[in-house]
Symmetry: C2
Subunit: 219 residues, 2 copies
């Protein structure tokens, strides 16, 4: 898995150096780890659990992505433009984290070129993802965006034993991830159930007609 920078961190010889600076801790469910606009202090690694990375405008919210096991967040603060976090991060469940101070992380990057290169590739991938989502938000109807969201969730979190997407996400959060309102998402999912594209199992969602769902995301 290319995006697992954790692995890099764990394997490198400078691991002992990190030990002196890193700080492990656990975030409870719904705990706010980063708040948009706060000064940047460092970067976070996720050992286990799940964190939503989101942005606000007024009282509306957009979930940019989810950071689960092996992912990092807070890394956008590293650029040259700003000294404040451009995003908020909130734990969706109990989450084990590792915090690394920004200055130490940056100086490490300057020494460990392999890590820096990996991080660069990681950024390149994220940028591509981000711009694709930009296009989706601007050009796609809600139904297609929802299809993209569901396929993305399935790819990231996999399926449980019943074939459902293995994540417990409130409809509120699903809506914020798809970039639509609560009610619209609700109705659109109902539509999808009518059309046998998905099946509901309690609150979980099972993709039954992946091909048709993918078709929604094309043209």
């Amino acid at each position: 898995m290319q995006r697992c920078l954790m692995c890099q961190l764990a394997l490198k010889e400078w691991k002992p150096a990190i030990a002196a600076h890193k700080k492990n801790f656990v975030a409870k469910k719904n705990e706010v780890i980063i708040c948009e606009g706060e000064p940047v202090t460092g970067i976070y690694f996720v050992y286990s659990g799940n964190v939503k990375v989101h942005k606000k405008w007024g009282d509306k919210e957009l979930i940019v992505r989810f950071a689960d096991k092996g992912k990092i967040f807070g890394h956008r603060g590293l650029g040259t433009t700003s000294a404040v976090y451009p995003i908020s991060a909130t734990a969706l469940e109990e989450t084990e984290l590792c915090f690394i101070p920004a200055d130490f992380f940056v100086s490490t990057l300057k020494v460990n070129h392999e890590l820096a290169f990996s991080l660069m590739m990681f950024y390149a991938d994220e940028l591509q993802e981000s711009e694709k989502k930009m296009r989706n938000l601007a050009l796609m109807p809600v139904k297609s965006r929802l299809a993209v969201a569901l396929l993305h969730l399935k790819a990231q979190f996999g399926m449980d034993t019943t074939g459902c997407i293995d994540i417990d996400l409130s409809r509120q959060d699903l809506a914020a991830f798809a970039g639509a309102t609560y009610e619209t998402v609700f109705r659109t999912i109902n539509e999808m159930v009518q059309e046998n594209l998905v099946v509901l199992s309690g609150k979980r969602i099972c993709i039954s007609e992946e091909t048709s769902l993918i078709a929604l995301t094309r043209e």
Copy 2:
């Protein structure tokens, strides 16, 4: 200017090495330099002129950003995920370009750590921009997005002697940049003229009440 990687390229000792691989050329107005979905061949630097970087969905188009003097494009193809360009690039005016093959550029990055680090920071900044725009597209009304677009254009291209934003952009392209339709942008600009936020001078746009325009982009 942090984003001017060109400067880096020009100043480094490996410049002679580049000379053997790079290829300078000129793109005419409206010439398509990269087409979405084509296999990645390399990265482009802009010496002069202006290029729109855009994505399509069906017959709709979204302009992701503009690459003028000192900017690069085609760099998103470098990530690990894909071997095809995720964007199209089209010259908006006569543009002087420099092309560098991907394999050579990547191997250069592995040797020149300073450049790699700069590029990483560049990516970090772009990612932040991109996610902000994502939020804008998802949550803002058209009028606010248009305000953001105009302020962005002013920041990137500056003003001419009459105080207008120094770029000749068709309303079509302005609409594609703001993520709205032609007609809506037209009407919204009229609205802004009524409210004395902007003034039209021929086809160019002059921001007269920057503070009020910025206010539109908040909350």
